[in-house]
Symmetry: C2
Subunit: 425 residues, 2 copies
C-alpha cells in the first residue's frame, strides 16, 4: 500500500533539513546576541485557549480532536496564546523583562493547494513586562539583525509600522465612530488584496455617510509620520500613543535599524488583540504576503486570569523567508575524514581507527562494502570529506597511515598517534 | 478564564529549554561524528500509515482527527513509519547507505498520569540499504558515543542485544511451534513486568504442553551467547542469523563499544516489524523502562510499495534519559556583556553601542529602566554576563568606556573601538 505525505505538509530530506537548520541557526544567533532566551510549549493546547483569544470562527482553521476523556485540543496555529498562558502561570516569579524567543512548529487547516502550507515553523520573539516603546524597538531590531545576517538589505525589504491607537485617532479625524474602528481596521487589512474600486465600494457601503473612501485614501496615501502624529495628538486619548510612536522612532535610530523602517497606516494586523504599535515585514515589491507580523498586546495575560503583563513581539514564518532568499549559501554536511582500506584485510583496523577518531569528536565515515580504493575515493568525494585516510600495510610496518587532503590533493604519511591532530589542523 | 497546559504535555521554560538543547546538542554531535545526516517529517501522517504498520489496535493510542475533506490523520507516535515512507518514495535515487538521524517530537494518547508523557522527543538514528551486521554495529555504536559524551559508563547502563531469528530458533529448540513464535515474544516482552509465578502461569497456559515455563526459564537465564548460537545453528534457517550475531559482536569489538553490550534473550521488542537483531538500552538497576529500543527491520519499505530496502535503527526518548542523568551540568544562558549607564543622559549612547556590538555578533543586553548603577550591576550578575560595560562621561571626553570582568572583578578603561576585541579576548 502506497501512502503519500499528508497534503500541505513537508518532508525534509537531508538537503532540505540543512537549509532549515541554516535558517534556525540564524534565528537563534540573532535572538541570542539580543539577549533573548529560548522556550517551547506543547504541540497542541486546549481548544478553548484559541477560542478565548480569537473567537469561535478560529475553530474551523484548526486541526482539533478529543482525547478519550472528551477533552478538546487543537494543534497550535500560533505561539502567542501558549506564551501568554506560560507567562500568566508564573507572572509573579519570572524575572523581568521576560525576553523570550522560540522556533515552534505549528499547523493551520488550510485547504490543500500549491504554496499553502498546513504545517510551518515560525520564529517568535517577544518582550513582556515592559511598557516602554524601547521594548517595541528591541523586537523590531532583532528582526533587522536577522535580515542583516542573511544579507537582506533595506532595498529589498522594509518593516512597515503603524499604531492601533494612532490609526484609530486618525480614523476618528475623518469621521469613523470610535466603536466602528475594528470594522474599519478589518477592511483596511484587505486594502492591498482588493482592486481600488472594489475597496472603495465596500468602504462606502459601511462608512460612506460619515467618512467617504476618498478621505480615507488621502489618509492612507499621503500622510507622513509627522502629520499623522500631529493630527492624532489633537484627538482625545491619542496624545500618549503619538508620543510613543515618536519615542519608538528615536529608539530605532539609536539602535541603528531605522533605515529598515517606515511608518505606514495600511498596516493594521487582522487579529484583534493588538493594543499599540503594530508592524509587518514586506518585500519592497508590492502585493506579496507579509514575511513577519507583530505588535504590542497588553491584555493577553489578563484574559487568562493572570496579572496584566504588557507584551510586544512578532512571528516570522519559515517558508516566505526561504522563498525570498533565492541565493542560499551552498550548504554541505561535510565530514572530517573518510577512511579507506588499501585491502580488505586492513578493514578491522580501519574500523578501530574510526572508533578512536569519533570518540575524539572527529567526524568520520567509511564504506560498508569492501571495494577498490578508487571506488572508496569516489565515496569520499561524494561525502565532501576534507581528508581521506588510507589504512594499509604502513600501519603494521610503521604505525602510520596515508593522509590525503582532498581539497589540495596533498598527501603524506602520518603516525597513527598524530592522525587526529593532523586532521584537526 | 484560566487555561491549564494540556495533561501529560510539557512547558519548556527557559531553564528547561536549556536542558533540552543540551541534550539535543549531544544527540546531534554524536550523530555527526558518525556521519549521520539529519532529516525531518510532518508532525502528523495519514492514519493508514500507522494502521498498515501496527494494525487497528494502534488507533486508540493515537491522537487522530479528520480535516474538512474527511481525510484521517494522526499525530506521529514514532518516526520509523515516516522514515520508511520517505525512503520508499526515493528509494532509487537516494545515495546508499542512507545514514540518517532525526530528533522528532511525537505524541501518544496515554491516560494522563504522573510520569506518563503524552508528548516527547526522540532521537532516531537509522541506516538503510545495508544488510551487513556492520550497520547494526554502527547504530549501536552511535548510541554508545552519546552515552560516553554525557558520562554514562558501562557500570550504569548496558545495551542488551538479541536476535529475532536466533530467539525463534531457540524457542523451537524447547518446543514452541514456529507459527507461535510471535505470541511467545509478546509474552516474553512482559517477562520483566510480571511476578515470576504469574509469568509461568500465563506461559504454561499457552505453551505448557509443548514447552513448559521451566524450560523457557533455563533458556532465558542461563544461556550464554556462545551456547545460544550453538543451539540456534543446529536449527533450520537459523545458521545465517547466528553467524550474523557473531559478526555483529566482532564489529562491536572493532568499534570499541562491546564493553557496553550484552547478549540477552529477554529482549524481544513488542513491535512486530523487527526481522533481525533487536536491542534495548537499560540501566543496570533492574525493573526500569528501556531508555532506547531498536533493531533491524527489512520489510518496511516494501510494505509501502517501495523497493525492499533493509534497515536498522533505534529511538531514544528524551524524558527517560534526562531522568537518569541526575547530575546535569550547570547550564546558563550567558551573555557576553551587560551595558550600564553611569547616568540617564548616556542612555542613547549606550543603546547605540549595544546595536554596534550585536551587529558584530557580541551578545549584549541592558536594563530597559533607568536606575542606579548598583541596580544595573545586580541585573548584570543575574544575567551571568561575562563583562559589564559602563557608559559614562569618559565616552565624550576620551572615547572610552569602563570594562569590568565580572568573573575576576578586574576593571579598566578601553577605547570604544577596542571594546569588541576586549570582550572577545
Amino acid at each position: 500500500m502506497k501512502i503519500q505525505p499528508p497534503p500541505g505538509m513537508r518532508d525534509f530530506y537531508p538537503e532540505d533539513m540543512r537549509i532549515q537548520n541554516w535558517l534556525f541557526d540564524h534565528w537563534r544567533s540573532a535572538s541570542r546576541v539580543f539577549g533573548f532566551v529560548e522556550y517551547e510549549g506543547p504541540i497542541f493546547e486546549y481548544l478553548d485557549l484559541y477560542r478565548l483569544k480569537s473567537g469561535e470562527e478560529i475553530v474551523s482553521q484548526l486541526f482539533h480532536f478529543q482525547d478519550r476523556g472528551q477533552r478538546e485540543f487543537a494543534i497550535r496555529p500560533e505561539m502567542t496564546p501558549t506564551l501568554a498562558r506560560m507567562v500568566a502561570a508564573r507572572a509573579n516569579s519570572l524575572p523581568r523583562p521576560i525576553k523570550w524567543f522560540s522556533i515552534p512548529r505549528m499547523c493551520r487547516s488550510e485547504k490543500p493547494q500549491r504554496g499553502r502550507l498546513r504545517e510551518f515553523y515560525q520564529w517568535n520573539a517577544d518582550i513582556l513586562g515592559v511598557d516602554d516603546p524601547l521594548a517595541d524597538a528591541e523586537v523590531i531590531a532583532v528582526a533587522v539583525e536577522f535580515l542583516r545576517q542573511v544579507g537582506l538589505t533595506r532595498d529589498e525589504v522594509a518593516i512597515r509600522i503603524s499604531s492601533r491607537p494612532v490609526a484609530a485617532a486618525l480614523l476618528r479625524s475623518i469621521g469613523v465612530a470610535p466603536d466602528r474602528a475594528d470594522r474599519a481596521f478589518a477592511l483596511i487589512d484587505r486594502h492591498d488584496k482588493l482592486p481600488p474600486e472594489e475597496f472603495a465600494r465596500q468602504w462606502d457601503e459601511t462608512f460612506g455617510r460619515q467618512a467617504p473612501a476618498a478621505r480615507l485614501r488621502d489618509l492612507l496615501d499621503r500622510t507622513t509620520l509627522e502629520t499623522c502624529l500631529a493630527i492624532a495628538a489633537r484627538e482625545a486619548d491619542a496624545a500618549r500613543a503619538s508620543e510613543q510612536v515618536r519615542e519608538l522612532w528615536r529608539r530605532l535610530r539609536d539602535l541603528g535599524v531605522a533605515e529598515y523602517c517606515e511608518f505606514d497606516l495600511n498596516i493594521v494586523r487582522g487579529l484583534a488583540y493588538y493594543t499599540g504599535i503594530i508592524f509587518e515585514l514586506h518585500r519592497r515589491k508590492p502585493g506579496l504576503r507579509a514575511l513577519l507580523g507583530g505588535g504590542r498586546y497588553d491584555n493577553l495575560t489578563a484574559m487568562l486570569d493572570g496579572p496584566s503583563v504588557p507584551g510586544v513581539g512578532f512571528g516570522m514564518g519559515d517558508a516566505p523567508v526561504l522563498e525570498l532568499l533565492s541565493k542560499l549559501p551552498r550548504l554541505s554536511e561535510m565530514i572530517d575524514a573518510f577512511l579507506i582500506d588499501a585491502a580488505p584485510e586492513f578493514f578491522p583496523s580501519l574500523i578501530e581507527i574510526a572508533g578512536d577518531l569519533r570518540r575524539d569528536g572527529v567526524a568520520v565515515d567509511f564504506s560498508y562494502k569492501r571495494q577498490p580504493i578508487s571506488k572508496q575515493f569516489k565515496l569520499a568525494a561524494g561525502r565532501e570529506a576534507r581528508f581521506a585516510v588510507i589504512v594499509g600495510s604502513e600501519l603494521a610496518s610503521a604505525n602510520s597511515l596515508t593522509l590525503k587532503n582532498l581539497g589540495t590533493g596533498e598527501q603524506r604519511l602520518v603516525l597513527r598517534d598524530d592522525l587526529k591532530a593532523a586532521i584537526r589542523s
